[in-house]
Symmetry: C2
């Protein structure tokens, strides 16, 4: 397959007239001209790398975090291209070890049989080594002290080598340093999250290979001028990556994001959604930021406001529920409005940085010869037109 | 008098060979050559404008905040040149209105009869319209709701026109908008301080003429990602000035200062000391940041640590007590180590910005023809060599 455009975003340059030659899901070549008329013409659209969502519990009709089984992952894979996400990490919460192992196995099985849709890159363990002090919406009963034995159990349970790509951890907990070292040896990136680590702890442990923070500002000790906490340290250390959950303006005000953007720059921000596939939950729960009750009822999903008013959704129907959480692409439209980044800077924050962070930059994160053909076609306002995952068209706005 | 140097810091340029001609306390001219050998040669030192301390309760053997009388002000004037401060605002706390009026009158009297030393520019009212929520070390019994009637009383008590130059205020309090407008009309700058104002309040009221914050980070609502508070708003709004109390590294960690410096830049930071002349207090008190008891006893001043250990000082002897608080010049040495600003940026933060903020830039804040001859001679490490106040040598390091 051949794709033509006047705006192909290669690393550090925009190809103003060019063709992407795609074979077997790979970008075989990027050339100035071809000897055929058999190409798709996206003349006036932008061609950019697909989004990578490294912090994603669920989306639409699939919620990995609710049951950790393969069916949920396939549902997510199917609908993520509609949000521009061409690859992702299935993200757990803090669960009992057996449930985490079940999740690791499901992820491995799906990695071995990707079928269609967005590519599952592996797993992001958000816990279990996190801190009650910053539990967010997680279940503290499943929180554990960092333990190399437990970590080894998880690593050994991988049915696909290095499927565990990322772990969110409270690095101030006793035993954290040993787990960080063990994870480093096993190519698992460590992000600080659900943590009240001090500046001094972070300064010390980042030398062991702690390179970023999870959902910046949320689930962490805030910035204070006498103790910078996790938020202040993430703002301070130029080299720490800041993962941001989607830009709704609710969990993190746009002005707070703007401050972080000004300090960190596009090179150290990683956009994610932290979406959960909320309609797929198994038990009723209360969302303290949204101030709403989420109630599952067979194929139905009910949102009840504090004033008693309700709205009922068909949770088997993607189109009925797709707007319950902000999609990756809409979050990027908000990002654009908030800080007006260049297209190259958007690519860094949505694809390149994450690919580097979780160790898949050899295949993902940029449009380059030899890399996977994960490609988005967008207009200048970042309305999504077409999504290719591994060279296969998985979404088209018609 | 004529001063010669190879490093005269004029606005936006360094004069590499030049002479400052000083007559009657004024910079009469700045020239390339003179027809006389009768000049002071500071060849290798830097010539910069004197420091302005707009937030100063006391220094050394004088403490305006303790008794608000003229004697204290003359003591401060005498010793401030040793710290590089060539002009200052006498700063109150929140006191009963009668006491504030007494202070305003003392300031006016001293302004009318400056004698020698650092120039008293007027008064900074830190209160009484401040918020119990962020009281810091102030006495809440003297806090008042903003009232134009009270403000009018203070303004009308001025025995020198426009001696009230600056007021620190909690702008979220009921009635604040009217007081801000009244102060604007009377050329009184408003700084937000001892305040828990929200982002929305600040966004709205800054349009009325609220242009900065008092002792950034201290005595204000902290930065949070869902409600930016005073600290977050000060970081966010590019045009708000941030006054910083001295860089001890205790009240505000240097890393927190570095974050603010990166965001605000030298154009919007005003260095002050917030010094109190602590040895001159009238009643015993506990300092919650230093975790020490301060005990006055006749001519003696005792500092008692929490473990009971004590140190006794002669509080009538400047040299015995001068190191009890960090001096302006030493704070600037710390500033230099913390963020490595250019000399011109140091001048902005120590002189120019404050002069503009409190409305004295026609006379102070830069070395220019026609301005007051407030001049410091420093070496490249900002060790103070000589201080001139209104053309008169008030300090020399011998």
């Amino acid at each position: 397959m051949i794709i033509y455009s006047k705006n192909i975003y290669l690393p550090n340059q925009v190809k103003k007239e060019g063709y992407l030659i795609i074979n077997n899901g790979i970008i075989d070549d990027i050339v100035d001209s071809v000897n055929t008329n058999d190409y798709v013409d996206y003349s006036d659209y932008l061609i950019i790398p697909g989004f990578i969502d490294q912090h994603l519990h669920g989306w639409g009709t699939g919620s990995f975090v609710s049951s950790r089984d393969e069916k949920q992952l396939y549902e997510m894979k199917k609908h993520l291209p509609k949000a521009g996400v061409t690859s992702f990490l299935a993200t757990t919460g803090a669960e009992p070890i057996d449930e985490l192992i079940k999740g690791i196995n499901s992820v491995g099985n799906v990695m071995n049989n990707q079928k269609e849709g967005s590519t599952l890159l592996g797993i992001h363990l958000e816990g279990p080594f996190v801190n009650e002090s910053n539990k967010g919406m997680m279940n503290v009963n499943n929180f554990l002290k960092p333990s190399v034995d437990v970590m080894k159990k998880l690593v050994d349970s991988q049915n696909v080598m290095n499927s565990i790509k990322l772990m969110t951890m409270a690095i101030e907990l006793e035993g954290a340093a040993e787990v960080i070292k063990y994870c480093n040896k096993n190519n698992i990136q460590i992000s600080i999250g659900h943590s009240c680590a001090t500046f001094e702890t972070i300064k010390k442990l980042k030398e062991l290979g702690v390179n970023g923070v999870t959902h910046m500002f949320s689930g962490m000790s805030g910035f204070h001028h006498r103790e910078l906490g996790v938020a202040g340290s993430a703002l301070y250390f130029d080299d720490l990556y800041c993962e941001f959950a989607k830009q709704t303006g609710i969990t993190v005000k746009k002005e707070a994001f703007q401050i972080a953007y000004k300090l960190k720059g596009a090179n150290r921000i990683i956009m994610t959604t932290d979406n959960a596939g909320i309609s797929q939950i198994e038990k009723e729960r209360y969302h303290y930021v949204r101030k709403q009750y989420f109630i599952p009822d067979g194929d139905k999903f009910i949102i009840r406001n504090e004033d008693g008013s309700e709205k009922v959704f068909d949770r088997t129907n993607y189109d009925d529920i797709k707007d319950l959480e902000l999609s990756y692409i809409r979050s990027i439209q908000n990002l654009k409005n908030n800080v007006n980044p260049s297209v190259h800077d958007i690519i860094k924050m949505t694809s390149e940085n994450s690919a580097k962070y979780i160790g898949v930059f050899d295949k993902k994160g940029s449009l380059e010869k030899g890399k996977d053909a994960d490609i988005l076609v967008v207009d200048k306002d970042f309305n999504l037109k077409v999504t290719y995952c591994m060279g296969r068209k998985c979404f088209e706005d018609v």
